[in-house]
């Protein structure tokens, strides 16, 4: 014990809880472990290895199991008897037999099982699960395109189920839903998104039997007028999602006129093509306690419709993305919806300076504003936004290209509460970034394609925004290593950084970024001067790295991959296209168990044999992008084998670009549009 703790990095904690880690101390210990795990997830593993007692304590502490392979499931359940949540999202294939092994471990403490990313199981597996964990409260079967009514009937045996997701279980019909409705009467949260086999019959039965429902997602189902009434009548329903329901039209909505739901707080009717302003006007009358309304891509916004929203006095969030604003529609929002905190107008047509200025001048309490791609607005709007909405915490105005750099400076000066700012593709310059020094709470900053910013501006950000978690510098051609170093030094909380096509960057940037231990997403696509040396620093420093894009980093070779395989065990997704990686690098990379998503296109050093070997070793793959030429070169049965494990191939047929095309602002890809 002593030796172990001495050898261990986390000896401090072992000293804190002396020799017997018994049950009385458990609660205290678990609090400590929670905190340790929050700081560094790997610390628990080290702790468990410290001693037998530590191992046992860690076993008792663990609540969430996320096995890398389904065949580890029985052992894991034996070791962690008190685990309440089983997340199988890393197991692309979970055969019925794996689920059948659950009861033998006697893990009755399991409350939640997530099978949303897995395939390979059927009704038999779910039946085994139902027998093993009759007390299961949360089951996620999303994407179970192969699951049918038989599986749903087995789900119905879990009487205590409170949350169930059957999203994209397209084969489930009314019969399956009927079983669930009768069996799981405690259901509170049900998602039937994309269950296109379900009709009004089943939904009526559901509304009759599951009266405790609070959240119901019926997106893209065939719901019509027939069952909408009974759904609305559910007395506890708070969140109703009806995205893309073509059966919901003005007729259906107007039929609700006499009904009255006090409980519904969130209504999402985005992409309901058959709804017009008339239908919306009638539905809001029957839902007076609405807090959030989403009408994106749904209907034109007319003044009369907006005036109806006046009756919904508590409305806080209004999303009108992609809507067409009629004359005075936006003005009416300003005068009618005084209570709203969050307004989204992104990609809407008809948003003009005068109307937007009027609206925001009335909405003084606005916290979040999204005017992405409102291309007609100019400095006038920005001036009135910054003048009236000083408490904004989120402002997204990507692609508002008529706004001048001078107006953008006002944002930083007036909205000091900002946490999220998106100025992608704008005229932002260093002065604008300097103005942001007042926004000390900034956690997300997206300033891609802002060609005028330089290291100087980034220095201001690095000095004044210590809480920054996410920064996007996509195609900021004016920045160099010094700017990135300032960011890396000033923002230790950084989790995600996009440096794609910042062609001046070298390994120095990555070396400084390696100090950001929380970094999990790194995109350095098209940075030709970055080499394996820089990547190895990242691999050693940022152990939580899960997403990596090194496409067109020609200097990165097998050495970088060796470091990644050695240190980046959290890696889930990688894009290797155009790198100098060969079979060796690929093979070593494939030893990362959790790797799910690989893009391997246009790698000169890859042979079919090396590729197939890597694919066979890497068992957790779910999606692999390969060049089409490999399709014929690899043995078919091997591909089938990999596919059978739950991997999906995507064959890319793009020409190989031999020379690196240097950064040309004129031919920017419209990535952010």
């Amino acid at each position: 014990m002593a030796a172990a703790s001495a050898a261990h990095r986390h000896s401090k904690r072992c000293r804190l809880s002396p020799v017997p880690l018994d049950s009385p101390a458990d609660e205290l210990l678990f609090l400590v472990l929670d905190r340790v795990a929050a700081a560094d997830p790997r610390a628990l593993k080290s702790f468990a290895l410290a001693s037998r007692a530590c191992h046992a304590a860690e076993s008792r502490h663990r609540r969430v199991l996320r096995p890398l392979r389904a065949d580890l499931l029985p052992a894991a359940l034996v070791r962690y008897p008190s685990a309440s949540r089983l997340d199988l999202s890393l197991c692309a294939r979970v055969p019925d037999a794996a689920l059948a092994a659950v009861p033998s471990s006697g893990s009755s403490s399991l409350r939640a099982v997530d099978l949303s990313r897995s395939s390979g199981f059927g009704a038999a597996g779910i039946a085994a699960l139902a027998r093993a964990c009759p007390c299961l409260a949360d089951l996620d079967l999303s994407n179970g395109v192969h699951l049918g009514d038989a599986a749903a009937a087995e789900v119905a045996r879990m009487r205590k189920l409170q949350r169930l997701s059957l999203s994209r279980c397209k084969q489930v019909t009314d019969m399956g839903l009927g079983c669930v409705a009768v069996g799981c009467t405690d259901l509170k949260d049900l998602s039937l998104k994309w269950c296109i086999g379900i009709t009004d019959l089943g939904l009526n039965l559901l509304a009759l039997k599951c009266t405790k429902l609070t959240t119901l997602d019926l997106s893209y189902t065939m719901i019509t007028k027939e069952s909408l009434l009974s759904i609305i009548k559910l007395t506890n329903l708070q969140v109703l999602t009806l995205v893309g329901c073509i059966g919901i039209d003005d007729d259906a909505l107007s039929s609700l006129e006499k009904e009255y739901s006090k409980s519904i707080q969130v209504l999402d009717m985005s992409h309901c093509q058959n709804v017009t302003d008339v239908g919306v006007s009638s539905v809001v009358k029957s839902i007076p306690n609405l807090l959030e309304l989403n009408l994106s891509y749904c209907c034109p916004v007319t003044p009369s419709m907006v005036r109806c929203l006046q009756k919904v006095s508590k409305l806080q969030t209004l999303k009108l993305e992609g809507c067409k604003f009629m004359a005075d529609g936006l003005k009416a929002i300003g005068s009618s919806c005084v209570s709203i905190r969050e307004l989204s107008l992104s990609k809407s047509a008809g948003v003009t300076d005068t109307e937007l200025s009027f609206a925001v001048s009335k909405l003084k309490n606005l916290l979040k504003l999204d005017i992405t791609c409102c291309r007609n607005i100019t400095d006038v709007s920005v001036v009135s936004i910054t003048r009236s909405c000083t408490s904004l915490i989120s402002l997204r105005m990507e692609s508002c290209s008529h706004v001048s750099s001078g107006a953008l400076q006002l944002i930083g000066k007036h909205c000091s509460q900002l946490e999220e700012l998106d100025l992608t593709d704008s005229d932002l310059d260093d002065e604008g970034l300097k103005a942001l020094t007042g926004c000390t709470n900034l956690s997300s900053l997206k300033i891609g394609i802002c060609l005028r910013i330089s290291d100087e501006g980034l220095t201001h950000i690095g000095k004044s925004c210590p809480k920054l978690r996410d920064i996007d510098l996509y195609r900021c051609g004016g920045i160099s290593d010094d700017g990135v170093i300032q960011i890396a030094q000033g923002c230790p909380m950084l989790e995600s950084i996009n440096l794609s096509y910042c062609t001046e960057l070298t390994d120095r940037s990555l070396m400084s970024l390696s100090k950001c231990t929380k970094l999990n997403t790194l995109e350095i696509r098209g940075c030709p001067r970055i080499s394996s040396a820089g990547l190895s620093e990242i691999a050693m420093g940022c152990r939580l790295l899960s997403k990596l894009d090194i496409k067109k980093c020609f200097e990165i070779n097998d050495v970088g991959m060796l470091y990644l395989s050695q240190f980046s065990h959290a890696l889930r997704q990688i894009n290797l296209s155009y790198c100098s990686v060969t079979d060796i690098g690929l093979l070593s990379l494939s030893s990362i168990c959790g790797l799910q998503n690989m893009t391997i296109v246009h790698l000169a050093g890859i042979t079919p044999n090396g590729l197939i070997a890597a694919l066979m070793v890497c068992g957790g793959l779910t999606k692999v992008k390969l060049h089409e030429a490999f399709k014929s070169m690899m043995p078919l049965h091997m591909l089938k084998n990999v596919e059978a494990r739950g991997c999906m191939f995507q064959w890319i047929n793009k020409p190989f670009k031999v020379l690196y095309i240097f950064f040309q602002p004129a031919c920017l890809p419209l990535r952010y549009v």
Binding site: R69, D71, R93, P95, D96, A97, A98, A100, A101, G120, G122, A123, A124, G125, A127, A128, D149, A150, A153, A156, D174, M175, G178, C179, V182, G183, L201, G202, N204, L205, L208, K209, M616, V617, G619, K640, N641, V642, A644, R645
Partner: protein
């Protein structure tokens, strides 16, 4: 085209209301002019007798030389006699109407129908006159007979039952002029058309069993009509309802006849005209031509032919035209099914339940598909034929739940056994090596 001109010159055809082309190809004996004794047979339901048909075939192959004369005074005389009779008839009817009007004021619709009838009769007389006169004038012959709409009309009307080739399918005669002019039928032809559909019983027989033989009925001379009336008590000429359709009535025997298409050579019967055409190939090369084998199209006359509806021969039936609230049947098939279902014994018994009986075999088959297994099952064991009924039941009773069909459950159980058997194996092997695991899974996957 040589045969076509010969046909047009034929006086019989001219007199029989521009039925010329049709007559040439299908000189059906029972249908020809009353003035020509050899072809004027007594109306009978034995229309499909082989000897008749043989005669037809013979005529069809080459024009009858006796018909190639210019015009026949005897025929005209008989025509005129007929007109005389007809006028007298109309006169009688008008008189009776005037009498009745004086007596009773009721039955306004009946009066209206009668008036309509009179108008129709008068028009027919005028037409008859014109046609008869027209046959005398060489200049009028061609315009009348070559008027495509008229010819086409007569084609559809005169299409012989039992032999599925329609006149308009003979390209040599009319394809040139016919097709572009289809839409130009004048009101005159329509009149003829509606008049021609006066219910001649034999015509219905002819028309009836051939559902694709065109909409209208035979353009039969009125003498025929008279004879028929006396022959068949059931039949009434005065049944043109206020609606725009024409009512036909088949005889019981015709409805129940197993075959409706007969070979003109050997007399073999068929249910479908296509089968008959296939059969005809065996009788010679002339039946193997594309035209002979082609499906008779009905589009030719559809614009001009009157809408036809059918009446059930069973007196007192609502589908019988004499019924007060007469509801006509739409097609021949409807007539057949209706008659069998309503007025025949139910001779087909379901072999599964031994209780349900049917008179139409298709009904039995439909029933047998569903008999014994109601698709929708509740956990309490009750079965339902309809899903909404099941859901209503489940909604009503606490604890009842929809149950999946038994075969599904069985399959599922089998699957489960399979998985526990094979899955265990897979399990042990799979644990040893990941690569192997994948392979085994693949094999195991059904």
């Amino acid at each position: 085209m040589a045969s076509g001109t010969a046909t047009n010159a034929d006086p019989d055809q001219q007199t029989v209301r521009s039925n010329s082309v049709e007559q040439f190809y299908f000189p059906r004996p029972g249908q020809s002019l009353p003035g020509i004794p050899p072809f004027f047979g007594p109306p009978s339901s034995s229309l499909y007798l082989a000897n008749d048909n043989e005669a037809k075939v013979g005529n069809q192959l080459e024009p009858n030389p006796s018909q190639s004369t210019d015009w026949d005074p005897q025929a005209i005389v008989s025509n005129l006699t007929f007109l005389e009779q007809k006028i007298k008839q109309v006169k009688d009817v008008v008189q009776s109407m005037s009498n009745r009007e004086n007596q009773v004021a009721s039955g306004s619709c009946e009066v209206a129908a009668k008036q309509q009838l009179i108008t129709a009769d008068l028009t027919s007389i005028i037409i008859q006159l014109i046609t008869t006169a027209g046959s005398l004038l060489p200049s009028m012959k061609n315009p009348l007979s070559s008027n495509p709409a008229v010819r086409q009309l007569s084609n559809t009307l005169g299409s012989p039952m039992g032999f599925g080739v329609n006149a308009n399918q003979r390209p040599s005669v009319d394809s040139k002029t016919d097709i572009p002019d289809i839409g130009k039928a004048s009101g005159y032809e329509e009149l003829i058309n509606s008049l021609n559909t006066t219910q001649d019983e034999r015509d219905e027989l002819i028309k009836g069993p051939n559902p694709c033989g065109g909409e209208g009925s035979e353009p039969t001379p009125m003498e025929d009509h008279d004879v028929k009336e006396s022959d068949d008590g059931d039949h009434e000429g005065e049944n043109l309802p206020p609606g725009s359709y024409v009512v036909l009535q088949l005889e019981k025997e015709e409805i129940l006849a197993p075959h409706t298409h007969f070979c003109l050579i050997c007399g073999k019967g068929f249910k479908r005209d296509a089968n008959l055409r296939m059969h005809m190939r065996g009788h010679g090369d002339e039946y193997k031509t594309a035209a002979a084998l082609a499906k008779p199209t009905r589009d030719s006359g559809s614009d001009h032919a009157p809408v036809t509806r059918y009446s059930c021969p069973f007196v007192g039936c609502k589908r019988n035209k004499e019924h007060k609230k007469f509801q006509p049947l739409k097609t021949i098939l409807c007539v057949k099914n209706h008659y069998k279902r309503s007025h025949c014994d139910k001779s087909y018994t379901c072999s599964r339940c031994n209780t349900k009986k049917f008179s139409v075999i298709a009904d039995l088959k439909t029933h047998e598909k569903h008999c014994g297994r109601d698709k929708w099952l509740c956990s309490c064991g009750t079965t339902f034929s309809r899903k909404d009924k099941l859901f209503g039941h489940v909604a009503l009773f606490q604890g009842h739940t929809p149950a999946l069909p038994m075969d599904d459950v069985k399959r599922k159980r089998r699957e489960r056994l399979f998985w526990t058997a094979v899955g265990g194996l897979n399990w042990n092997c799979g644990a040893s090596s990941r690569v192997e695991d994948g392979e085994i899974n693949e094999e195991v996957e059904p």
